[in-house]
Amino acid sequence: MAPIVGIDLGTTNSLVAYMDRGIPRIIPDPDSGPLVPSVISVDEQDAVLVGRAGLERLVVDPHSTVFSVKRLMGRGIEDARQEIELFHFPITSDSQQVIRLKLRSQVFTPPEVSAHILQRLKLNAEKFFGEPVNQAVITVPAYFNDAQRQATKDAGRIAGLGVVRLVNEPTAASLAYGLDKRKQGLVAVYDLGGGTFDISILKLKDGIFEVVSTNGDTHLGGDDVDARMIALVIATLKQQTGVDWSDHDQAVQLIRRAVIEAKHQLTDQQAASIAFALPDAKRTRVEIPMTRPEFENLVRPLIERTLPPVRQALADAKLQPGELDEVVLVGGATRMPMVRHLVEEIFGKIPHTELNPDQVVALGAAVQADILAGGTQDMLLLDVTPLSLGIETLGGAVAKILLRNSTIPASATQMFTTLVDGQTSVDIHVVQGERELVKDCRSLGRFKLRVPPLPAGMPRIEVRFLIDANGILNVTARDVRTGTQQSVDVRPSYGLTDAEVEKMLLESFAHAEEDLSERLAIDARHEAEIVIHATEKALAGPAATAISSDECLRIETALNELKRVLPSDSHELIRRKTNELNQATQHLAALIMDSTVKQALEGKKLEDVK
């Protein structure tokens, strides 16, 4: 059985990893190595390009290319106003619905875009293992709310991946760092990624990873740094040449590429220049120099926005910054020297950066996958819910029923009754957030409780709110008088219904698995044909006279066996028979070591023969 993989579905890049005998490893992408750019693009033929190929189209075809879609997951259009300004692709939706992106003739919801990225990672893993991969642990920002988590799970389903667990990114990172089970003490994980910021404080003791508190900002990351730099470049151009490029999408993407490059250079250098050619008739070269202090002044306000969440997490954990034993940095944006200094200043410690900040989350996801598969034992993660759960009461106020930082799974029960005689249903509105009024919290969903018609106040319906180990809410209700259970269908405020997910699945990926096994069989057949050809050639050659008739018979038997199974759809069977033939011809191959067929018969060097 193929292992459960660990996936970091990031704002900028995504990765897939697995556990190789106790050591987590990344499975690389053929185009882009360990990191797969979280970009999809629809080309002129309406084909969907994912990863590096998608990213390359961002400049030439910005209107048909989506990046940073994670910022739109589980959100309504009103809610994502600020993010939408970063994008060029057309966004459509009614105010209460899931956002829809129009790329050429195709329409995508954010979970579908993510599903394409997940499918790419799934295929990479399948090629790597040579068998279907159907299960994954996927990471999400710790501060993701219920709707954002649900949307991530939907994306997995659409991609044909069973999401066996959602793990919070900073916690996953701590698992990768904490593989050494002797690690004890209090650890802070500061995770600044492409689009989200998380801070988590954990207590490590005898293999238990207990999250004490978590906080964050799901609108803050490297993307915002880029946006500030782009705005500066556009303003500079306008001032110097009088031309405003802000509505020229291709220009904006060229500038984006240039500022990202300059940003990366400023990590190691004191100065860099933002260099690019404008898409005008003369392809005018632009070079805007920037020193590190200038860069830091520009982005300092963004980085300082991580401070209030850090303070809140410390306060919730009832800890002073100096009490932490270790601090870990996660996320590409923590490469900025300014971030390192800030973290050092807050905690009075040099933060850990031994593990690659782009990869550590995926590595941790692989560890959690291995824990679930029963491979890694005596490590246990106890995570928390990042936001308080509440229900709407009279006057639009919120009654909190589960407080933030409660260890999950967690549950709370509430009793409901009626206000009017004969009332047959009670509407319940569930929200998430810390504020006192419904309008300041995030609406998770609404549901109707069915109530038997009785005098007001008589019915007693007990509702149980349970947040599972994924941080996702489940609701069940029971009539206390009769003991009858009723199923509760929470209609997500900005989510997809099961039926919608099902439809997307059928439309886009219904045959993905069949396709895969077919492809694997084609590959196996191709390899087998090469071996058959080489064997036949060897048997007809001079070396064949040097072997015994017994050996010759064995080879011929294996050869015929392989020919017999060649039309089979089972890549496993074809591969087994190919291996048997390779075994049988080993001696013959040794005999003709110097001959020209050497490469072909060794079997292992098939790549060169092809």
Partner: protein, 198 residues
Amino acid sequence: MPLTSDQDYFSAFGLTRRMSLDPADLEKRFYSLSRKLHPDNFYRASKEEQESSLEQSARLNDAYRTLRDPFARAEYLLTLEGHQVEKKGSGVPPELLEEVFEWREWLAELRASASAQTESAHRVEVQQELSSAKTKLGQRLETSLAELQALFLRWDHVLDAGGSPPEREIVLAEIGKVLAKRSYLQNLVNEVSEPLEG
């Protein structure tokens, strides 16, 4: 040893209703039960076992959350022992009445003066006053914790001696008073912590 919903939180941890809990011991019990019950251990098990693990693990976490916090633990004990907790809004505890009144008045004046003045120096001053008030109230909250812990010892003593229901009720009533007082102090802390308008 499965956790069932008819079990109280104390017996879920194999404890009696003694209120002076050693946090380290409670944590040890919590970790060891978590290792047994957490859904991670049941990923490869049957659907029924998975559901039961989710239920039990949620209940374990609910129990730990309640028992580890002395105030939540005290409230839970009152419910468990059938002690009638006074309804919220039934009035400020008499010994706090005057103090709460004075705090409220002071706060209202302070906020009014802050919003009347736009000068930032003045606002900083007000902010400082608020934060020193918060510290003072924080100390009062500390005191209420000490009071509660003293009552926990009394309760344990009564429990160990096999005290009669009326004897128990006396201590429970005292615990109830401390909780009510604390809830008012906490409200004041929240009010002081609210940011200034404007």
